[in-house]
C-alpha cells in the first residue's frame, strides 16, 4: 500500500515535501493508522509524530488522514484508505515543528482564555462541593474532550483568526464551566466572550462535529453559549 507522508525537518529542508512510501500491510488485519506509522518509523527513524496512549485517550496523535482530521490510533485503515493510498499530513492551520508534529501554542492559548477551571468564590466546604445528578448530567458531552485539536484545526474560522476566535475545543470547555452548577463566575465568563470574534466567528460550518474522535458536538455548545449571551443582553 502507498502511504504519502508530509515531511519537513527545518534543520535540513528548505521547504516541506511529500514522501511516498510503500508499506507491506499484514494480510487479514485491519491495522490502525498509527500501527502503519509505527511500521514506517521502524524503517525510517527520522519520521516524527506524536503518540502516547495508542487508544484514543491522550489525544497526542491528531493528524490529517486522507483529508480528514482524526486520531491515528483509533482510525482503522479500512475507514480512511481510498484506492490503496493513504495521505498523512499534520493538523492544518498550525505551524509545523517537524513532519507530523505541530506547534499547539495558539490552541492552548485559546483554551487558557476560557479559564478552564472551576471558579467559586464561596468558602470551600469541609469535604466537597455537592452537585445533584441532574446538574452533573449537564456536563455530559462536554467534559470528555481530550484536547486533541482535531476540531479547531478543521475549522476555517480558526484557520483565519486563530488569535481571536477561541475555536470549537476552547468553546466546548467554556460551556463546560458555564454549565457547571458549582461555578459562580458565569457573568465574568460571559463578559469575556461577548466580542465579535471569540464566540461569534463560528459560522456553523460544523467541521468540528464531523471530525471529533470522541463524538462530541462543539457546535451545540457554541449555540448554548450564544443563547446565554443573548439572555444576558436582552
Amino acid at each position: 500500500m502507498l502511504v504519502s507522508l508530509y515531511r519537513y525537518n527545518p534543520e535540513t529542508d528548505n521547504a516541506p515535501y511529500m514522501q511516498d512510501v510503500e508499506v507491506e500491510v499484514p494480510e487479514g488485519k485491519d491495522l490502525m493508522v498509527l500501527d502503519v506509522l509505527n511500521l514506517i518509523k521502524e524503517r525510517d527513524p527520522s519520521m516524527a509524530y506524536r503518540r502516547s496512549c495508542r487508544e484514543g485517550v491522550c489525544g497526542s496523535d491528531g493528524m490529517n488522514m486522507n483529508g480528514k482530521n482524526g486520531l491515528a490510533c483509533i482510525t482503522p485503515m479500512s475507514e480512511v484508505v481510498k484506492d490503496n493510498k493513504l495521505v498523512l499530513r499534520p493538523l492544518p492551520g498550525l505551524p509545523v515543528i517537524r513532519d507530523l508534529v505541530v506547534d499547539m501554542s495558539l490552541f492552548y492559548k485559546q483554551y487558557e482564555k476560557v479559564m478552564p477551571y472551576l471558579l467559586n468564590d464561596n468558602p470551600a466546604p469541609a469535604i466537597e462541593r455537592y452537585q445533584s445528578p441532574e446538574d452533573r448530567e449537564k456536563l455530559d458531552g462536554l467534559y470528555e474532550c481530550i484536547l486533541c485539536a482535531c476540531c479547531s484545526t478543521a475549522c476555517p474560522s480558526f484557520w483565519w483568526n486563530p488569535e481571536k476566535f477561541i475555536g470549537p475545543a476552547g468553546l466546548l470547555q467554556a460551556y463546560r464551566f458555564l454549565a457547571d452548577s458549582r461555578d459562580t463566575a458565569q457573568a465574568e465568563r460571559l463578559a469575556n466572550l461577548d466580542d465579535p470574534f471569540s464566540v461569534f466567528r463560528c459560522r456553523g460550518i460544523m467541521n468540528c462535529v464531523s471530525v471529533c474522535p470522541k463524538g462530541l458536538n462543539p457546535t451545540r455548545a457554541i449555540g448554548h453559549i450564544r443563547n446565554l449571551l443573548l439572555q444576558r443582553a436582552t
Binding site: S157, N161, K164, N192, D194, D195, P196
Partner: protein, 117 residues
C-alpha cells in the same frame, strides 16, 4: 482577568449585538422579498399598479426598513468576510470603508427615489 477581543469597526461593537442585527434584518428582508414576489404573482405588474404600490406610505416605510436592513445586514456580513480574508490592516480598512460608503449611498439614494425628493 480580561480576555475579550477588541474591535472598533464592526457595527454593534459586541458580538451578540451584531448577531442579533443580522438575524432581525434577515427576517425583514425575507418578509419584504416574499411580499414582493406575492405582489408580482397576484397582480398585473404595470406602471399603474407599481407606482400605486409605492405611493402608499406604509409601503415606502416598509421599503425603507428593507433598505436599512440590507445595509446593516451587508455591513455585518462583509465586515466578517473582510476580517477573515484581508489580513493587512490598510487594505482591509479601505475595503470596509468602500462597503460602508456604498451602503450609505444606496440608503440615501433609496430615500430620494421613495419620496421623490
Amino acid at each position: 482577568m480580561v480576555n475579550s477581543v477588541d474591535s472598533v469597526t464592526n457595527l454593534g461593537r459586541s458580538g451578540v449585538f451584531d448577531w442579533m442585527i443580522q438575524r432581525v434584518t434577515a427576517y425583514v428582508l425575507a418578509l419584504y422579498t416574499i411580499f414582493l414576489f406575492g405582489f408580482m404573482l397576484t397582480s398585473d405588474v404595470n406602471y399603474e399598479t407599481w407606482s400605486g404600490l409605492f405611493d402608499q406610505t406604509w409601503f415606502r416605510i416598509f421599503t425603507l426598513l428593507a433598505l436599512l436592513s440590507i445595509g446593516a445586514h451587508a455591513w455585518v456580513g462583509l465586515w466578517t468576510v473582510t476580517t477573515d480574508y484581508i489580513k493587512a490592516t490598510l487594505p482591509r480598512f479601505l475595503v470596509q470603508a468602500l462597503c460602508g460608503l456604498t451602503m450609505f449611498v444606496y440608503v440615501v439614494w433609496g430615500i430620494q427615489i421613495l419620496w421623490g425628493l
